[in-house]
Subunit: 147 residues, 2 copies
DNA sequence: CATCATGTAATAGTATTTGTTACATGACTT
DNA sequence: AAGTCATGTAACAAATACTATTACATGATG
């Protein structure tokens, strides 16, 4: 199953932005992510609507973080992306006419909902600031940064 | 994201098989599931290797359950399917050269692993027999069965 | 031996993420 | 005011994976 890596990607981008006071262009971010500038604009577009980032056109333009890293959790980023599907597995039919399938769905949904709820709880526990701190810890150990 | 419904599908099939003493053909099962016989053979093929079901060719042939419903959990079925991907989200790169991405991956994997572990724990708690019981409870309330 | 049912390969259909090109819009610089 | 830079978007191509379908071989039953 192909896995959606937008959340992973946008976190990567945000942490890089957090290291720069000046705006970073889509092109610069795309180089860091080894992808296309348009992809960057797409995933950051959703975050802009939530006022998490700010973009400016023209000379000296680009993207900047416009929120408090201490107050934003992974869950906020996740919802800003449009709350993409978490589970790669699901029920064949959500409203079956078959009682067998109803019983199956009930058991499956119970497990799925619990797993999803736990994931979201974890997401809510982690702030961008914590991720940034973790990055700096790793920086002190190794002295390299990807560019 | 398109969701893998094989687990849901195979449980549906197994519970129908549990209601019949005689073997059920792929075609009959496909009708119940509103899909193609080959799809049934494919998903049941993995279960046959684990000795969970048995298939016979020729007249009077078809599929039968060959395990104790009380001893088989959803997790056993899940692994018999080849342990398909659980999460629709994942990291961009698992072995990044970038420390920022390392920090992101660490946080994400922690949450992902926890969610997956919980899902598996739930799967292990539910036996096929329990699903079948739940089905019969629902049967008593409504008096219809899908065909 | 004819029929039935599985076993399997090959192919097409469908959906989604990701990557790319192209061009319009707006902002800063000279 | 013109030119350059960067975003904003639409449109399209590529890659991947589940699902569906067709075709035919294999084996078992009557």
């Amino acid at each position: 199953m192909k896995r959606d890596s937008r959340l992973s990607g946008v976190l990567h981008v945000l942490l890089h932005m957090a290291e720069h006071k000046e705006p970073l262009t889509s092109e610069a971010l795309a180089r860091m992510m080894q992808t296309n500038p348009v992809v960057i604009r797409r995933i950051l577009g959703g975050l802009r609507e939530q006022k998490l980032v700010h973009s400016e056109k023209g000379h000296g333009g680009g993207w900047r973080i416009s929120c408090d890293l201490n107050r934003i959790t992974l869950y906020d980023i996740y919802t800003a992306l449009g709350s993409p599907t978490v589970l790669a597995m699901g029920n064949r039919t959500e409203s079956p006419g078959c009682l067998v399938e109803e019983a199956v769905n009930a058991a499956m949904n119970q497990a799925f909902d619990a797993a999803e709820a736990l994931l979201f709880a974890r997401f809510r526990e982690v702030t961008l600031a914590q991720l940034s701190e973790d990055f700096h810890r790793r920086m002190k150990k190794r002295k390299s940064i990807c560019s």
